[in-house]
Structures are given as C-alpha cells and as structure tokens.
C-alpha cells in the first residue's frame, strides 16, 4: 500500500514538471481565454520566446465572405529570421513547411491552439538541424504551456 502511494506520488511529481500540452503526435492546447484575448496573448508569447511574427492568415474572414458559417479561425506564422534563412538555403526541400505556424480557433468560450511537432515533421540526420528542431519543439511546448495556464 505504502509502495503504491509512493508510486502515485512519484508519478504526480513527474507530471507537475512536465508540460500541460498534449504531446502525442502534435501540440494541442486549450485556453479558457476568449479568442481575442488568446490571440493577443499568443502573439506576446511568440515574441517573448524570441521569435518574430511574420503574418496572420485570417481563415474565418475568407470563409465568411464566401458564405460559410465559421467560428474565429486564424493561422499565425512565425520564426527566427536567421534560422529560417539557414534552413531555406541549406535544405530548400523544407521551405514548404516554413515558417513555423500555430492554428488558433475559438470553441465556444474557450480557444484551441494547435501546432505540429517540428521533430516529427522535419526528418533529418544533420545534428545542427536536429538541435534547432529540438529547441523549436521546446519553445512551442513552452509557449503553448503558458497559453494553457492563462485563465479567463
């Protein structure tokens, strides 16, 4: 019995140190903030993690203009200019997957955020690129983790 409690305690301690974000095949997180608040917070988190926001694609606007009913839905593009340039020049085959992106959309009062896992998308043996991908993964996990912790 004591051992079982110890096991649970250790598991719990381990979990509290890990990210709140689901990390099976992709990053997906929910924030209790409304879409406009979450959108502002996401842009701030991207910047505070050292990345530059390059563009926001307003998916919902195009859909609405074409007569389709939709919730708020955007795609946020971002990256570190020197890293993006290095990869694009060295490995042009990865250009179609760059810059990085996070899809953000409202679901009732909450907002969902989704990102790919760079280590799963970009397949490489280059240690230098692997290092960049590992950092991207850590940063995306961290910024989405911050988003999950935001309260309404």
């Amino acid at each position: 019995m004591k051992l079982n409690r110890l096991k649970v305690f250790v598991l719990l301690a381990g979990l509290s140190l890990s990210t709140l974000v689901t990390a099976e095949e992709m990053f997906m997180t929910r924030t209790q903030q409304t879409f406009p608040e979450a959108m502002l917070a996401l842009q701030a988190e991207i910047k505070s993690h050292g990345y530059k926001l390059s563009r926001v694609q307003r998916v919902d606007i195009g859909l609405t203009k074409s007569g389709y009913k939709t919730d708020k839905y955007r795609v946020v593009f971002f990256g570190k200019p020197d890293e993006i340039k290095w990869i694009a020049d060295t490995y042009p085959e990865w250009i179609p997957y760059l810059p990085l992106k996070i899809a953000i959309f409202s679901e009732a009062q909450d907002t969902l955020l989704i990102a790919s896992d760079p280590e799963k998308i970009f397949l490489t043996d280059d240690p230098k690129l692997k290092k960049v991908l590992a950092r991207w993964k850590k940063d995306i996990g961290s910024l989405l983790n911050k988003m999950a912790e935001l309260k309404e």
Partner: protein, 344 residues
C-alpha cells in the same frame, strides 16, 4: 532528517486524493484540449454525458485511452501505466454522478447474418454501411453544439477492444439519452434481434478497414521548371486559377521576417484557396489549420527553378484521421497537377 520527515508526511497523505490529483493532472495534460475542462466535449466526445457514463464501464474507458480509435482522431496513449489509466478514469468519473456499470466479457450469441440485415436497416444511416462511423469531427465546424456526438465507428479496432458484447447490447437496448442513439427495444426489436446485431458488430473484427498512409510517402513534392523564376510564378498562377482556386497572395518567402529591402526574391510563395474545399476540410477535422492556406513555392536554387509543396499526406499522418487522409490524397493530386501544368 527534516526532508525525510517531510517525505513521510507526504506519503501519509490520503492515497485516494493523490490518485485523484494524478488523474486531474493527466486529464489536463492529455485530454482537456479535445474534451474540455468539464468533459462536455469539443473536438472530442462529451465524457460528462450521464447516459454515456452510465453505460461505459471502467474497462471501456481504460481501453479507449490505451488503444484510442485508429483513424478517428482519438490517439492511443500507449505510454500511460495501469496506475495512470486508473487515475485518469477515476477523474473522468467525477464529471457525472452516474454509477459505472460492469459487464461480463462473455461473447453474446447471435446470428451475424441476420444481424447484418438489421444493421443495414437500422444502424447504417448513422454508423455507416461498413460501420466506419459518422462523418466529421468536432463541434466547431462539423456540427451544432446541441448535437453532442457524431455516431462512433463500430468497425474500429480500438472500439472493438474496448466495448464488450454486453456493453454494445445494453446500448442497443437502452439507447443513449442526449444523443441520436435510440432504444431499439422501444422501437420494436426483440432481444434476439439485438443479439444478432451485436454478433454482426463483433464480426467487424475479421474485416478491419483502414485508410492508412504509406510509410514511404515523400515529405515534399517538387517539379522542375524550364522557365525562369518570374515566368514560372506567372505560369503557376495561371494553373492555380485553372483548377478553380482563388489566388490569395503572392509574397517573397521571408516577407514579414526581414526588412522588405532584404527579402530573398529567389523564393516566391503563392497562396491560394478553394473555400468550398476548405469548409469541407474543416468539417472533417477542425485542426486542418496546420495545412493552411494552400501554398506552392517557386525556388531558384543552384541555377534550377523548382516549384515545391508540402506533401499533405506527410502532415496528415499525425492527425489519426482516415477521412482527412482521403482529402489529403486528393490535395496531393491537385498539387501535382497544378505543378505539372505550370512547368509544361
């Protein structure tokens, strides 16, 4: 010494509350994004629904988490231990006051051939002729919020490993309040009819259907152009419009990342969209923003001009959604046709 005392004190904390905290932490880490903080659903099914909790055994929930639903978005959480699975199930139970059932694991005897006829008449409209389930995922785009669930895929390895015959039988007999699933006993079926349907559903185990992506699928698509970069971009735009897509934007690849004067003019991105197709894709899976918008990039590299695109199938493999795989097969073909026409 003080540390040991503190550790012993922590160990003395009620085991149940530790397990409950563990369940909550696991839920927040793994489930909350799809199923919502209160289990009312979203991209995922509403776990808090009383009629669901009253019919789903702990074994069903544990196996569902463990095996997922292949090709139906719900991933398999293979790395969770038995303790973690139990803690998670315990936390999911806090969403409802319904008493969890337990079921016999004994197979139910029925005539699968007769069951197939009854299934075709009574179940196929919602669950699909082959048992592959209702179309679409998630409340955001695919269904109004007052419809809490899309008909599940019964012809699915994860479902068949999770649901016992007795659980399927009970669901058919009682229906599921708050969902379109009706009680077939109340709709005139006999208990034997229901057992025949159960036998037919169980027979899906021998006829599993998947729409998987080949392991050797390339991760990008490319076509070499004999024209220069500017001519290729112009030809690409023409080919895109010719396929009924609307051009959204043309920009240098690093636009927005560097000063306009420093942009690399040898890498040009053409964004385009077909909103009908986009709406359909969002119905199939609200997470498809990661594919958006449709895009082809013209790159001049080492004296060669190439059109490049993501291979949608490379991305789709991470979504665990067979319906999306189908759409991505079509999208890959479209990209290839456009690239071919643009480089002729």
């Amino acid at each position: 010494m003080r540390l040991i005392a503190l550790f012993c004190l922590l160990l003395a904390v009620n085991g149940h509350s530790l397990a409950s905290s563990l369940g909550e932490s696991l839920y927040q880490k793994n489930c909350i994004a799809c199923h919502g903080a209160d289990g009312k659903g979203g991209v995922g099914v509403p776990l808090a629904l009383d009629s669901f909790q009253a019919q789903a055994s702990d074994r069903f929930l544990r196996n569902t988490i463990k095996f997922g639903r292949e090709g139906r978005v719900m991933p398999a959480f293979k790395s969770l231990s038995e303790d973690e699975l139990n803690a998670l199930v315990g936390y999911i139970r806090t969403f409802s006051s319904a008493t969890p059932p337990t079921y016999s694991q004994k197979p139910i005897k029925g005539d699968a051939k007769l069951g197939a006829q009854l299934y075709a008449k009574n179940c196929a409209a919602c669950h699909g002729a082959e048992g592959l389930g209702g179309k679409g995922t998630g409340v955001t785009f695919s269904r109004p919020r007052d419809l809490p669930i899309i008909a599940p895929a019964l012809n699915n390895a994860g479902f068949l490993k999770s649901a016992s015959d007795a659980m399927i039988q009970k669901t058919l007999q009682q229906g599921r309040k708050g969902t379109p699933m009706v009680s077939f006993l109340k709709h005139g079926m006999s208990k034997q009819d229901i057992n025949d349907i159960v036998a037919y559903i169980r027979s899906f185990e021998k006829n599993q259907q998947r729409n998987e992506i080949a392991k050797d699928e390339p991760y990008y698509l490319e076509a070499e152009s004999s024209m220069n970069l500017e001519e290729t971009v112009a030809s690409l735009k023409q080919a895109i419009v010719g396929k009924n897509y609307r051009l959204i934007r043309t920009q240098n690849f690093d636009n927005g990342l560097v000063k306009e004067t420093q942009e690399d003019k040898k890498k040009v991105v053409v964004y385009f969209c077909n909103f009908k197709l986009l709406n359909e894709a969002l119905t199939v899976d609200p997470r498809v923003g990661l594919f958006l918008p449709c895009r082809l990039t013209v790159v001049e590299h080492k004296g060669k001009v190439k059109i490049m695109a993501i291979n949608p199938l490379h991305l789709s493999r991470f979504f665990n959604n067979d319906e999306l795989n189908n759409l991505c097969k079509g999208m890959r073909e479209t990209y290839e046709v456009i690239m071919e026409e643009a480089t002729l």
